[in-house]
């Protein structure tokens, strides 16, 4: 007996050991253990600390584009300023083009299988494109510098360490083969147009770039594998681009030799554009571009661009370019919004591109700061969207007859807003994309959503609204990673790094903090880290510090975990205050008691037991057989009188008011704690919505109940009636329970609404 007992005890102990590890798992536990301790570089309020520093890299480059061989040759002089308190014995330079080298790790680490491989893919496997930088010189004052190339990174060993506060000036020369983007992919490259035998180049990552050195990473030299984008220091650029004489060039920066490369007429048109804030002005018309397409000029032209305080440089070049521009006025400075596109982009591009750029600048600036650069350019590039300072490459190509589907139109406007928006995140608020994709993509997708909604009511935004993230968040956890996951290891890249953080911010703004507190805090973050390098915790801290809203639970749940929202309204109980008046309560109690269903045996016995013993022999009856506990006695009445006399005026008021009390029980099934938004509908069909902060879950994260009272009687209750919280199961959100129609059922109901093939634009043209 004793043995069995101790065995049971042992099992019990084991179990409780598994069940709890005696540490704090409360969802409101502060984040202190997960995040870096504030220091002199980054302080506890989320702002740059008093000893914050960043190094800078200035570039002077001479670049030549060889259109015949699709080759780029470059010479650059980098001036690297060591503003850090540390002496640097070596420098790291990024060689992004090397992902396209035949020996690239990117190819090696791709998982692949031969089963089901298509012919095309095999062709690519055999592709003999000779990509990657061919470095021809690394030197300092004419003397070769010792350097070591490790895949996409190059270490330059200095003879003497670069002391804190000093700068160094060195030269790198190189060339590389430009890739055909449509055949072998790439963020940059060229598209070939067989009809007119021309190419359109969109060029980026074309030069060896300095890595970031800072207090968080030391040298940020994590290899470029393809997904985690860039970490780049700020600097000033002077770049001369030598291209075929009939090309038009779009670039980061200001054109400093406009009079050398533009015609008088083009210069005049540019002046007109500087005054036009409603409609774009054409600098190069479609007619002129089509004429240029046919030319075969042998000469070269050099375009010189200068840019201040940018974290990168990109450009585009083609004789096919149509060019339009308009001005955007801001409080502190005017900006030129411009677009460059081949005729293949029309009519979409002439109508929307530059206006989409302008609308982006206006909206984003209102949430952050005035756009600080002189230009913002959108360049047409098939099938992609990619961002650089002041310039981005965007898709949106109508069919050859000039018609297009609404999908193409909204997709194009969306991508232009998104890529121009990247000027703010990460070009100016310079987060480390190699580590954290969400810091630029998530914040940018959030502002993209806000901008799209200012473009047109009910713009078909792919991301932003809470309900759009539900399908992702309710899925199997093995296929989901927390937002706080390194860029290369993320599952479901788009949902994880774009959709979920954008939705989380929108929920913060609409549901948790409110627009006023959120907008102020978000703007504070943007302005604090403008032209600096923030980390995730700087963002988290600033949002709290500027709003006095403790958001640790929110970051913990939405950014550090894969929990989802599923709050269930489990039970609703209705109470009314007892009047204590026996003449009211006793008959009520009697009715209630009679209301209780009769036991099955009692029902059957009424029939089967014809007479009981007591019915035959009445002497078995006594007082209790005639006593009715529900009878109102004099004693009851005296007791009630004493009760009433003992009440004060306010207690009496409650007693007489006939309030209805509802006790609601909720359980947290998904793990994420969220505010409770509860809509009560009353018998007179009026409604009242009560919003309760998420802190209601603070001591019990999983089960709570709360009492609400109204004078009116409630007929139904709905949790999260406007779908603000991304609750993944709304079938447990209402009382009485409602059946939630599926997508299938909704479609069946409105079948006539959609034909699935409508293009009203084309229809109108036919008439």
């Amino acid at each position: 007996m004793k043995n069995i007992f101790s065995l049971a005890l042992l099992i019990l102990t084991l179990f409780s050991g598994i069940a709890q590890d005696n540490t704090n798992h409360n969802k409101f536990k502060q984040l202190k253990e997960e995040v870096a301790t504030p220091n002199v570089y980054r302080n506890g309020s989320g702002a740059p600390g008093h000893m914050y520093y960043q190094n800078r890299a200035d570039y002077e480059m001479k670049i030549t584009l060889n259109d015949g061989e699709q080759k780029i040759t470059g010479e650059e002089t980098i001036t690297y300023h060591n503003e850090s308190p540390d002496d640097l014995e070596y420098l790291w330079v990024q060689l992004d083009q090397n992902v396209r080298a035949k020996t690239s790790d990117t190819y090696k680490i791709q998982t692949s299988s031969i089963r089901g491989a298509s012919f095309n893919s095999l062709k690519r496997l055999h592709s003999d494109f000779d990509g990657g930088f061919k470095i021809t010189e690394v030197s300092l004052e004419g003397k070769p510098l010792k350097h070591t190339i490790n895949k996409t990174m190059m270490r330059i060993d200095l003879d003497t360490p670069l002391k804190a506060g000093q700068k160094v000036n060195f030269t790198i020369n190189w060339w590389y083969n430009v890739n055909n983007m449509l055949e072998i992919g790439g963020r940059s490259g060229y598209e070939y147009f067989p009809k007119d035998d021309n190419r359109l180049y969109v060029i980026a990552q074309f030069y060896p770039r300095m890595c970031v050195y800072n207090d968080v990473e030391g040298w940020q030299n994590k290899q470029f594998l393809g997904r985690g984008e860039f970490a780049v220091p700020f600097g000033n650029y002077k770049v001369s681009l030598t291209v075929p004489g009939d090309h038009v060039v779009a670039s980061t920066g200001t054109l400093s030799n406009a009079t050398d490369v533009l015609t008088k007429e083009q210069l005049q048109r540019l002046e007109l554009a500087r005054k036009s804030d409603k409609e774009p002005v054409l600098i190069v018309t479609q007619k002129e571009a089509e004429k240029a397409e046919k030319s075969k000029v042998k000469s070269l032209k050099t375009w010189v661009f200068e840019a201040e305080n940018v974290r990168d440089f990109g450009w585009a070049s083609s004789k096919k370019f149509i060019w339009d521009a308009m001005v955007v006025h801001q409080e502190t400075k005017d900006v030129m919004a411009m677009s460059f596109y081949p005729k293949e982009g029309n009519p979409l591009w002439e109508q929307y591109s530059t206006k989409a750029v302008a609308q982006t600048l206006k909206t984003y600036s209102s949430y952050t700061f005035d756009y600080p650069y002189p230009v913002a350019i959108s360049v047409h590039a098939k099938d992609q969207g990619m961002e650089y300072p002041m310039i981005c490459f965007n898709y949106g190509r109508p069919d050859e007859d000039g018609t297009y589907s609404p999908r193409m139109k909204y997709g194009m406007i969306g991508v232009i807003i998104h890529e121009v928006g990247h000027n703010y995140f990460p070009m100016i608020i310079n987060s480390d994309e190699r580590q954290w994709t969400w810091m630029d993509e998530g914040l940018n997708t959030f502002l993209q959503y806000l901008t799209e909604q200012t473009w047109e009511r009910d713009f078909p935004s792919r991301r932003g609204a809470a309900s759009k993230i539900v399908d992702y968040m309710k899925g199997d956890k093995s296929n989901i990673s927390p937002i706080m996951t390194n860029s290369e290891s993320i599952h479901q890249f788009g949902n994880n790094a774009y959709g979920k953080p954008a939705t989380a911010l929108n929920i913060l703004r609409e549901t948790i903090m409110g627009r006023e507190l959120f907008d102020h805090a978000f703007k504070t973050y943007a302005q604090r880290w403008m032209f600096k390098h923030p980390t995730p915790i700087d963002f988290f801290r600033t949002m709290e510090d500027a709003s006095a809203v403790d958001l640790d639970w929110f970051w913990r749940g939405w950014f550090y975990s894969t929990d989802h929202v599923d709050i269930s309204m489990d039970d609703v109980q209705w109470f009314q205050v007892s009047t204590k008046d026996p003449t009211i309560e006793k008959p009520l109690a009697e009715a209630k008691s009679n209301d209780f269903p009769e036991d099955i045996s009692t029902t059957r016995n009424k029939k089967e037991i014809e007479t009981t013993y007591a019915e035959e022999d009445n002497s078995l009856y006594d007082f209790y057989n005639s006593y009715n506990p529900f009878d109102v006695t004099d004693k009851d009445k005296r007791k009630y009188k004493r009760f009433i006399e003992g009440l004060n005026a306010s207690e009496l008021a409650i007693l007489k008011s006939k309030f209805n009390y509802y006790q609601l029980s909720f359980s947290n099934k998904g793990g994420l704690v969220m505010p409770l938004i509860i809509q009560f509908t009353f018998t007179d069909k009026t409604t009242e919505t009560i919003r309760i902060p998420a802190e209601i879950w603070k001591s019990n994260n999983y089960n709570i109940s709360k009492v609400f009272f109204f004078e009116k009687e409630v007929i139904s209750i709905e949790l999260d009636p406007n779908l603000e919280t991304a609750d993944t199961d709304i079938s447990n959100n209402s009382w009485p329970r409602k059946v939630v129609p599926t997508r299938f059922e909704l479609y069946n109901r409105s079948k006539s609404r959609h034909s699935g093939a409508a293009n009203p634009m084309k229809e109108a043209q036919k008439k």
């Binding site: 072998i184 018609t403 999908r407 788009g494 699935g756 084309k762």
Partner: protein, 167 residues
């Protein structure tokens, strides 16, 4: 960075070198609702329209949602799905009926199917390899709801069959 279409086919195998985008991750979402009263499965499949167009290119330019949509686009879509998605009850394949489609301007393509189903389920098998031949990284998330029983599965190129038992 963001991309509409990537140079695809099996591409990602060798290609995603640097042309990686938010859309590099291919996901479809299928909801199968078992309606006991009407003895039916109601099925909605959410896909990315341009992925489907790319995969079905050999059969023609579908141009979904435009005036130039292939007249037989519905038949092509229905046939493709029936080839790559099936529900089996007690080892017998259920016949799917194409109900309709919706194309939204945010690139979502919804396909609707229905099929007969017994009132009570016993052994159920689902095969789902939609798009996974074209996009080896395709993941097909599938939710199965029958009364209070909710199940969810992820189908991938090399795990495209799931079987489960109702008791």
């Amino acid at each position: 960075m963001r991309t509409l279409t990537i140079i695809i086919t099996l591409a990602s195998m060798i290609l995603n070198s640097s042309f990686v985008s938010e859309h590099k991750y291919y996901v479809s979402i299928t909801n199968i609702d078992h309606k006991k009263d009407s003895k039916a499965f109601e099925i909605s499949i959410k896909l990315t329209a341009h992925d489907v167009e790319k995969a079905l290119k050999p059969q023609g330019e579908l141009k979904l949602g435009s005036d130039k949509e292939l007249p037989n686009a519905n038949q092509i879509l229905a046939a493709y799905i029936k080839n790559h998605f099936s529900i089996w009850i007690n080892n017998k394949q259920n016949e799917l009926n194409f109900v309709g489609k919706e194309i939204e301007n945010d690139e979502s393509l919804y396909l609707y199917f229905s099929s007969n189903a017994p009132k009570t389920l016993d052994k159920v098998k689902i095969i789902n390899n939609i798009l996974s031949k074209t996009f080896p990284e395709q993941e097909n998330i599938t939710y199965f709801n029958s009364g209070n029983i909710k199940k969810d599965f992820i189908f991938k190129k090399h795990s495209s069959i799931k079987e489960f038992q109702f008791k």
